[in-house]
Symmetry: none
Subunit: 119 residues, 4 copies
């Protein structure tokens, strides 16, 4: 479905994030296999090597394991590990920048909340 990728980030990273989000959300459960590199490449119209690189990232993060001849499987504990990791990253790295940006633009908390409700 997702045929468009953002310009400002490599596709393999966006795919990694997408899979990570699915693990957090629970649509891919621990112990279950990821869709095969080949399938995902066809589905998303990307180069298999690109898909492979995205999966490799997850392996490097010890969230997923490669079973030779079988595919990639989500490791036990991957979900909570991911949650902790991403929360930390968000709060320590991203949120401070967002704060700075909001203030530089003179945005009001009310604006943000209003926008929040709209959605």
């Amino acid at each position: 479905m997702t045929l468009e990728w953002k310009e400002d980030q490599p596709i393999y990273r966006q795919l990694r994030d997408k899979v990570a989000a699915q693990i957090i959300k629970g649509s891919i459960k621990e112990g279950e296999p990821l869709p095969s590199v080949r399938n995902v490449a066809v589905d998303l119209q990307i180069n298999p090597l690109t898909a492979s690189r995205a999966y490799q990232e997850l392996v490097d993060e010890h969230l997923v394991e490669k079973k030779r001849g079988l595919g990639m499987y989500v490791l036990k504990g991957a979900r909570s590990k991911l949650l902790t990791l991403e929360k930390k990253k968000f709060l320590e790295e991203e949120w401070p920048e967002i704060q700075a940006r909001v203030q530089a633009l003179g945005l009001d908390v009310k604006d943000l909340i209003k926008n929040l409700k709209k959605k």
Copy 2:
């Protein structure tokens, strides 16, 4: 002061953002000239061509005008134009993603905003 650049973005874009921030903040006023390409290059320890690219971005965005043989000048209306532009970009593009991310991580948006307020 700024001798360090982030890895995830080209220097010329970071410099563009820096100058834009100075215009918003008012430390460079409308009608005034930007520091010369050469000067900024020396100050920030970058190549003049890199600085030039940053400035060119601002020209392309109609925030700055080139006066031949004289230098680059901030256009009238640049500040409000920038503010509007960046606010819109933030609220329409970035904020929704932040919200989604916060929710996916199970964080409470309102707590974050309150946190923002205090600061």
Copy 3:
């Protein structure tokens, strides 16, 4: 073939015009890739960066798209877009000036036509 460049215009702009002319002429078709930056640089004896700037112009004009890691591709509709654009530019901007110039010089229509046939 083209090893010479005019003095009064930057090479990257002349190359942009050359590629645009090829798109109009149809020798590069929509959906097809442009010759790679490196190849064109070698062929035309110019620096890759110069070639790259020419291509970037076409991207900025939404005539060509970048496929990451693959190359630059002519967009659908680029040809007609170019034709419309250039025709308009010629008729609205260039032709009136030519007319004014012809009249100021007291040139006769016959002269122009004669010159036309010669060619």
Copy 4:
């Protein structure tokens, strides 16, 4: 009156062309002085050095002479010389390019010329 200059040509050349056009048109007659560098610079909001350079071009073309302490005077024969020169330049250099451009765009040269006639 003319406060705007084209981007694609140096101001001094545009001014030279403007004065040349006035000589052809007869609004500055042979034997008469050009407006002083200082005046023209103030009128047109340009740097006196730029105006001076434009005038120097005319001197170099032997169309104008510098009378020390008095100013610049249009030489006898300047008008016809200019006319010949510019006609030649137009027919030999500019017109062929215009033709090529018109054909590349699929426009009909004769229609344009007819159009020219009427006007």
